[in-house]
C-alpha cells in the first residue's frame, strides 16, 4: 500500500491534524522556501509531525498522471 499513498491526515505518533497543511507546505517548498522555516510558520512544533512533512513523497500524483494518460488513450483510441 505504500505506492499510491497520499499525505497522511494525522501525525502517526501524536495524532495531530496535519493533512490540511500539506498543500501550503508543498507549494511554498516548491517555490524555493526552506522546509524548516515553512514548518515553523505553519506552527508545526514537534519533531514527530515535522518528519511527516519532510519525509513525504506524494506517490499518488504519479498514479494520477498515469490514470490521466489512460483516460486520454481511451478517448482517442475509442477503446
Amino acid at each position: 500500500m505504500e505506492i499510491g499513498m497520499m499525505f497522511p491526515i494525522r501525525c502517526f505518533t501524536c495524532g495531530a491534524l496535519i493533512g490540511d497543511k500539506w498543500e501550503e507546505y508543498e507549494r511554498r517548498v516548491e517555490a524555493g522556501e526552506e522546509p524548516g522555516k515553512v514548518l515553523d510558520d505553519l506552527g508545526i512544533k514537534r519533531y514527530c509531525c515535522r518528519r511527516m512533512f519532510l519525509s513525504h513523497y506524494e506517490y499518488f500524483d504519479e498514479v494520477i498522471r498515469l490514470h490521466t494518460l489512460f483516460s486520454q488513450h481511451k478517448k482517442y483510441s475509442g477503446r
Binding site: 500500500m1 499510491g4 497520499m6 499525505f7 497522511p8 491526515i9 494525522r10 501524536c14 495524532g15 495531530a16 491534524l17 493533512g19 490540511d20 500539506w22 498543500e23 499518488f60 500524483d61 498514479v63 494520477i64 498515469l66 490514470h67 490521466t68 489512460f70 483516460s71 486520454q72 481511451k74
Partner: protein, 220 residues
C-alpha cells in the same frame, strides 16, 4: 496544599500548573484528556461507488481520521442514546454525502466537499481543506458517511487532545505542568472540563461499587 494555576491559554492549547496534586491523579487527568473526552468522527461509511486509484479500505480509513467540530451538548454517543436505531437518530448520528467526479481534469477531493444531509448541523469538519483523495479524469466516488460521537479509548480517531505532564523547570517535585493541545474537536479548556467530568464519573462509579462490595463482605 493543593493549588491549580492557569499558566497559558490560547485557542489551541492550555497549560496548567498543578501543585501538591498526587502524580497518579495528575496522570489520570492527562490520560482522560486523551481517552475519555467525547468527540465526533466518521464511524460508518456506506460506499456506493469508488473508481478512484485508492482502495476502498484506505479511502474509508482516511475519511475516518477527519476531525469534526464536536457539539457534544447536542449529540450523544450511540450507546447512550435510547433511539434503538441501528444507523442512529438525529441525536446520535449526522449523515454526510460525499460525491465527486473528475471530468476532463484531475481533481482533489477535500473534506469541505462532504455535504451534510441536515444543513443546520453543528458537526462540521475542523478544516475544509484536508485532501481526501485525488481523482483522474473519468474517476468518481460516491458515499454516505455516518458521523458519531465516540471516545479515544475505543479508536484513536476520536483522540481529543495531545497532552503531556512534566515537572516544572525549577525542579520542584511538588509542582507539575499539564500541557493540553486540542486536535480541533473541542476548545482546549472544554477538553479539560470534560476530562475532569469523566474522571469524576468513573471514580464515583467505582466508589459506589466498592462500598456495595464492602457491605456484602460485612454481611457474610
Amino acid at each position: 496544599m493543593i493549588s491549580v494555576k492557569l499558566l497559558e491559554a490560547d485557542d489551541k492549547t492550555v497549560k496548567v500548573e498543578l501543585e501538591g496534586v498526587p502524580l497518579s491523579i495528575a496522570n489520570a487527568i492527562r490520560r482522560f484528556t486523551i481517552n475519555e473526552v467525547p468527540t465526533m468522527a466518521v464511524e460508518e461509511i456506506l460506499l456506493i461507488e469508488n473508481t478512484s486509484a485508492m482502495p476502498n479500505d484506505v479511502l474509508a480509513h482516511r475519511i475516518s481520521l477527519i476531525p469534526f467540530k464536536s457539539d457534544i451538548d447536542r449529540y450523544v454517543p450511540p450507546e447512550e442514546c435510547n433511539c434503538g436505531s441501528r444507523l442512529g437518530c438525529d441525536k446520535c448520528a449526522v449523515r454526510y454525502i460525499l460525491r465527486a467526479e473528475a471530468k476532463d481534469e484531475p481533481i482533489t477531493v477535500y473534506s469541505g466537499d462532504m455535504i451534510p444531509e441536515d444543513p443546520t448541523t453543528t458537526a462540521k469538519p475542523v478544516s475544509p481543506k484536508i485532501p481526501i483523495v485525488k481523482l483522474a479524469p473519468g474517476q468518481r466516488i460516491e458515499m454516505e458517511l455516518y458521523v458519531r460521537v465516540g471516545r479515544g479509548r475505543k479508536n484513536a480517531k476520536w483522540q481529543a487532545a495531545i497532552s503531556s505532564l512534566y515537572e516544572s523547570k525549577n525542579g520542584d517535585p511538588n509542582k507539575r505542568i499539564l500541557y493540553v493541545e486540542s486536535i480541533g474537536f473541542l476548545p482546549p479548556k472544554r477538553i479539560l472540563i470534560e476530562a475532569a467530568k469523566a474522571l469524576e464519573k468513573k471514580t464515583s462509579e467505582f466508589e459506589e461499587k466498592f462500598s456495595k462490595l464492602l457491605e456484602e463482605l460485612k454481611a457474610n
